[in-house]
Symmetry: C2
Amino acid sequence: MNNYKSSVDCIDDCFERLRALDRERMHISRAAALLQWDEECCLPSDGVEERAEQRAVLEGLAHEKLIAAEIGQLLDKLSGELPLNGALQNASGEFPIADFLRVLRRDYDKAVKIPADFVRECAKAESLSQAAWVTARKQKDFAAFAPHLEKMIGFAKQKAELWGWEKTHLYDGLLDFFEPSLGVKEITAVFDPLREHLQQFLKKIAAKPKPDDSFLHYNYEIPKQEAFCREILTGLGYNNKRGRLDISTHPFTTTLGSSDVRITTRYALSDPLSGLFSVIHESGHAFYELGIGSALRYSSLAEGTSMGIHESQSRLWENVIGRSRAFWKPWFPRFKEHFPAEIGGTDFECFYRAVNTVVPGPIRVEADEVSYSLHIILRFELEQMLFSEVLTVNELPKVWNAKMKDYLDVECADDAEGVLQDVHWSMGAFGYFPSYALGNLYGLQFWDKLKEDIVDVDGLLERQDYGMIHSWLRDNIHRKGRSVDPAVLIKEVTGRSLSTESFFRYIEQKYTEIYGL
Amino acid sequence: MNNYKSSVDCIDDCFERLRALDRERMHISRAAALLQWDEECCLPSDGVEERAEQRAVLEGLAHEKLIAAEIGQLLDKLSGELPLNGALQNASGEFPIADFLRVLRRDYDKAVKIPADFVRECAKAESLSQAAWVTARKQKDFAAFAPHLEKMIGFAKQKAELWGWEKTHLYDGLLDFFEPSLGVKEITAVFDPLREHLQQFLKKIAAKPKPDDSFLHYNYEIPKQEAFCREILTGLGYNNKRGRLDISTHPFTTTLGSSDVRITTRYALSDPLSGLFSVIHESGHAFYELGIGSALRYSSLAEGTSMGIHESQSRLWENVIGRSRAFWKPWFPRFKEHFPAEIGGTDFECFYRAVNTVVPGPIRVEADEVSYSLHIILRFELEQMLFSEVLTVNELPKVWNAKMKDYLDVECADDAEGVLQDVHWSMGAFGYFPSYALGNLYGLQFWDKLKEDIVDVDGLLERQDYGMIHSWLRDNIHRKGRSVDPAVLIKEVTGRSLSTESFFRYIEQKYTEIYGL
């Protein structure tokens, strides 16, 4: 009896110790995130250089804490106890111990494989590469960036090699980092039909006249834009006691604590929707992070489970909800009250169509929801080609432009609005892009299920009553944090694996109606 | 030859390693400072609890890094090389190696004496104590706070014991932490005459009619106050590329990087001078930190040398410059332009007198520059009595009130405006108060020397030309950072040890004229 008890005690102690180490590391990571948030939103310009060093120190510390030998030992010891004995399970209440050990083991295994020297070397090269990219983009000079891109690809390959790639492609190793359990094969299986479908659909839309959105191009005073954004944000249920809205060059969401999830946007004088839809998009990310179950707090599980699932939430709020007719029924009158002169005699239908204008262009971040995924698929295909060495860096612009013409019927005027437009590759973030399009698919699949479970969602939106939608998303997705992997989650929630079906139906229905196809 | 070289190399390596460790720790400390700045200026209210934990983690890490065994070993090794051989000295350019080793040794020796458990226990008790103080002050209930104060004094005594106190009093150990090399004896030597002098002087002023400052008590719209503060701040030479001004409950200055020194203020609707003089006061702190020599950057030397010297800079700008006739000559017309209706027909002399009204009151932070030091001396005397155990916590309010009556002829209505007014004791910061009054003395002693070196300072102020004043302060004080201790600094700069002489002369001249004594 005594022996049994002391063994349980020991396991309890190990578990508590692991939780404490994990909690300490999360606090360091969040402090590092604050350094970054502050850099984007507050930092005086001359402080930038030193801030980079501060961030490197804190990120280095967080990494050190993750790969500490003690973490490995505790994981070994505790994983020997799986399936868990009841005493430990009960002691931790709602906390999903087995998932915690699995996820932390995965993070630890990945992290220990990367030598500290390699991390430092990468970080240095990334800084140089990003600076070179900024200049190259400004000067529309891909050749000046090419050697850095070459180097970034080299590092990414090394990283994938170090991690070890279980599937067919080296590139799988990178994809898996952002979207656990999805590789080239799984993604291609949905992206191929998606590409064909959207290409055909875009052609049909292109044959139709473009909706009139001229009223959106007057000057909309920025303080007024901000006031309207804050009204919508509050209306959506974003709680200022648990976050804040600021301005930055690129909109983003960051988690600085379980009750401190901040969003940012930017405002354009003659494009009132740009800032607004950024706010709604980021609020979707924020609702996800704020909805993570309190039992998971301060642990490695207290984050979104993948980039793709994260994008599903942000793009759901931005597009599926935020660009819907039902959503704007009550908000359009408010918009008119904020901007009576600017909007003039524009009626609701005209506004609704303008909010959903489909015009393919060269820039991903400005793309409508029909053409958006094609920008992503293009990048996914190019990344694959780069990593399987069927494409060299020097050939990249030519192939980029050819695919743009092919998929979107868009001519890039130069590399700045072509291959140089995104920051991701300059930072070595390969395998990240697919998440954006996966988010569209996950999002609509969740949405279809939500509409099965909640009667008359449109009625709720028309009454600005978002409570049930929040509850559904929280119960089915948010509260679980990282305790459930994306592939398991989508099946658990919708009963099916990831598919394009819901997204196709949504796009077809919505835009057939808008464009009278 | 070879042997000699390798020994030099080794010493060089040790030195570089020590610099790198020190630099890393400074970055962590500054990240911790950002957590605090953000808490005061930005943090959503529900994030407070978690933020406390994040701060504890980072402050703990900074402490760990300081007391790392490697630091001690490197200090031992390098101090054996003092006086420094030329090779090392040349290699480091302007960097004052011997001072660095001396100061880091002092920090290290103090820090290693405090066990980590004790630090944690203190931190926890401090949180509880501060919370109890907030409530007790609100409810004007000293008895509710007394047990916490008892505990805080206990911890402070233990800390002083752990540090070891070389001088006569246990309290010396605490004073030395904030003001190296000054103890009860040295401080009493200046505070005793200061008290007597100010008491007598206040009596003379009290016999005279109070200047008319009724125009200062209208409503001054806060955005207009802020605009005027920003104008003065820029006029004084505070560079927004190296800092920023925000709003917080209590004004403060914080260094988040060598080019990121931020200040805060608060605005009161019917007291336009409160926010303004806080801005000027904090800018004085900021000029000090921003003026630290670039050779000292990222090192333990890159801070103000003591709290007292810091206060000398802030109080110099706030009072000696900021409340002078010459300063307001060009700024008064600007003030009138910002607030034409509020100021009405008030003329310059009336304004100048109102800015320098002397009316002793119960609250330290609202005190004029004549009575201010008496608030400090009272606290200094009470701290001594508490630490030498001639006074118990329970007797504190009675003695406080008696001294207030004696020194300032002020009756405290209750303990909220008496012994409970300051946050310091609730945080265990004993020995800190004297710095404020020492700052007044240091400041005027510097100022007298500055006026010897710079011809026609009043002329400069009248022309809003602060460049030479900044240069003088930077060359003589700021650039040295912590490389020179306060007692050495005051002698080095002014040729004399700390004395009350300059301050007495300043107060007498200024207020004799204003009050027609």
